[in-house]
């Protein structure tokens, strides 16, 4: 359940932003989670309120946008949407495809006052 420590990271980043950007309350936290990142959105949501409790982001709303995984095949140069790491190229059937998008998780935006 590394999502708990990821929520703690999110809080640290928000607290840093609160200092830099001078705000005292966070209304909304917008996250982008790649389909192939090692992060389970439901587990993030589960930990989020608990970790944010008593902080600048107390009772902030969590908005999660899932980003599709994209891959390309170095054999046939086909670009395609990939759902799992073990998916083969739908064009030529090879497994040694390269993932180009959907491995990351980031805070995209905050709504603050």
């Amino acid at each position: 359940m590394h999502e708990l420590s990821l929520c703690e990271n999110i809080l640290q980043m928000i607290e840093q932003q609160a200092k830099d950007q001078k705000f005292t309350r966070v209304l909304t936290v917008c996250l982008e989670i790649g389909q192939l990142s090692c992060v389970e959105p439901e587990a993030i949501s589960f930990c989020f309120n608990e970790v944010m409790s008593g902080s600048v982001a107390n009772q902030a709303e969590l908005k999660i946008v899932m980003l599709a995984g994209l891959a390309w095949c170095p054999t046939c140069y086909h670009h395609f949407e990939i759902l799992q790491r073990y998916d083969e190229c739908p064009n030529c059937g090879r497994y040694d495809v390269q993932i180009v998008k959907g491995e990351h998780m980031r805070i995209s935006e905050l709504e603050v006052i």
């Binding site: 090692c38 799992q84 040694d96 990351h104 709504e111």
Partner: protein
Amino acid sequence: MCGICGCGERPLTAHTHDDHTPHDHHHDVEQPATVRRIKVEQDIFAKNNQYAQLNREYFRQNAIFALNFVSSPGSGKTSLLTSTITQLPADCAISVIEGDQQTTLDAEKIRATGVRALQINTGKGCHLDAHSIAHALQDQIPGPNSLVFIENVGNLVCPAAFDLGEAYKVVVLSVTEGEDKPLKYPDMFHAAELMILNKIDLLPYLDFDVEKCIDYARRINPRIKVLQLSVKTGQGMTEWLQWLTISQRLSSIA
């Protein structure tokens, strides 16, 4: 600025609102706060990755070859390490960082071989992170030209996401666990440079399909190298020690 009529705070002159009552201000109304949108666009792993990069730089400057051993609990990581340590030449400088939720049992097993070991107890944590390794390096201070073995918390999921600054992740999979583990836990096999199939002395008693397991691992990570060994019988240990020695030398050139 007045939140109702928009007049400036000073100079204040008597004025009226809808109720036509003249006044010089104050309204007993909470000033509506302005909602701001702030673009952050920061990776959640950025902090860990910064620490990992510092660790990696420390390893590079001191010609330290660090490996991060990952697996589910009970795959034989600690036995592999103790056996490796006793079979490496006596002049080979080694230090070990042990990660477990509780107990110092593994560090004690390593210390019994005569090698320095530091135990990190993660408590409720399910993985080691780069920051905890940075502290361990301060406590332990591995010498130049040495090997650092990091034994991560037994867990095939979470440690995959956390770069510790190691040269490579080595995933240990024992044949009692089933050949489908690379497909079930793809992130770990994707992140690893080497897969060690351990306990192969038990293969005659199991339905484990070695070829299928390797095929599954290469679907996830076509470049993954595979070694088959048994710590108990010593089969395959020579190849493992060769991989270790060669990889250490190559990393010192890179």
